[in-house]
Symmetry: C2
Subunit: 237 residues, 2 copies
């Protein structure tokens, strides 16, 4: 057997890929690698860990899909800055997720939209308000397909005003889920959502109101969806 030149403990028993994946993560941490640092080669790791090359390859593949490592031409394998949503983006598909998860995610969206008020008020600029004005001004068409387009634009703009990339990307990733759930609701209830609070009012509060008023107005704006959740819970008790 070739000598272990790396300061890493070899593997003993089964579920080898899991073990190797875990050990590699620990090793990278112990060695305090920084983002961009070149990592040991697959072959070196295979020898040091005393497992088959396929096991190492599969473990590395997992780390790659999780965004922890990436391969750069000529440089080889480096430690990457993990992208927390990249794995999730692969499975954010209404056809793949089960009904309960879709409902849970839809609720999470409502929760976030109510809670965003303070971040939006902290960061809002004249330019943001002008863009929202534009969206609201366009929203005079009675056609439902346009209504939905402006709905997505208006709410998307609110998210982007937070300046929080993690929240912004999460919302974008969830968009197909929202559309799917809204479609289901329409089919099930055959009714068109009418809100007492329109985007125009939300915008006025953004300009002259407080986060508290904005939260309450947003709650009213989303009332249709909250009512559905409430009715669902009540029907279960």
């Amino acid at each position: 057997m070739e000598h272990n030149t790396l300061d890493i403990e070899p593997i003993g028993s089964t579920t080898k890929v899991d073990q190797v994946e875990k050990r590699l993560r620990e090793y990278f941490k112990k060695k305090a690698y920084n983002v961009g640092d070149v990592l040991p080669k697959e072959q070196e790791l295979t020898i040091a860990l005393n497992v088959s090359r396929n096991v190492v390859r599969e473990a590395l593949s997992r780390l790659r899909v999780l965004g922890l490592i990436k391969t750069k031409k000529k440089t080889g394998m480096i430690l990457a800055q993990p992208d927390i949503w990249v794995g999730l983006e692969h499975i954010m598909d209404p056809k793949i997720l089960n009904h309960q998860t879709l409902k849970d995610l839809f609720e999470l969206r409502l929760v976030i939209e109510i809670g965003l008020a303070d971040l939006i008020f902290f960061k809002k600029t004249e330019k943001d308000i002008a863009e929202l004005e534009e969206i609201v001004a366009k929203d005079t068409d009675e056609q439902l397909s346009f209504k939905l387009k402006y709905e997505v634009e208006f709410h998307g703009k609110l998210y982007s005003m937070t300046g929080n990339d993690t929240i912004i990307r999460f919302q974008r990733m969830l968009l197909p889920i929202f559309e799917y759930v809204v479609d289901l609701e329409k089919k099930a209830y055959n009714s068109r959502r009418v809100s007492n609070i329109m985007h125009r009012e939300l915008l006025e509060i953004l300009k002259n109101g407080t986060p508290e008023q904005f939260r309450n107005a947003m709650r009213e704006h989303l009332k249709y969806h909250f009512d559905k959740i409430e009715n669902h819970y009540e029907s279960m008790t």
Copy 2:
């Protein structure tokens, strides 16, 4: 290097795994496999896709770590119900994520806690209230370490009252991140967080108040953290 005169992106040699991964996902969808259905074997896929076995293995490994497939003893490879957080759990580590992502996630937590009010009010039971009473009653100790323990217990209970597993697991997964950010804040400001609104008041509102009151009280309870965000934004402008 030859010049690319067409406005078309060349195919990289390393993208085979990506292609196979994508094609497999499309194939499983087209075939309308259900959760639990047995999938074609690795060897069959290798032949059908006309690529090397290692490429197929790596693509399957990715799907496995994303929770889309799993291998059952004797049965072989089956379609799994994907677990949307499983990939994220692997990287939810303050040592791995960069500072900005940690801050973003901490803000997301604040946003969610403000927005949870309605779900909590829809679902609250006598038993939930009694459990919160117990947590609040224990919270008389002046020691900071206990304070933090009850803080986590109280807020964790609020999340679990929503009955939304996706939200509950997300919060649990984020706990190490919160602890890390709170630790950083303590070091940076050398001050102890004092809130005007304590858990006792939040509980009273849960018993006799409204979601709106609860949101405002929670905003006040988390004021310390929101102030920090606000000050940070102001210092940038």
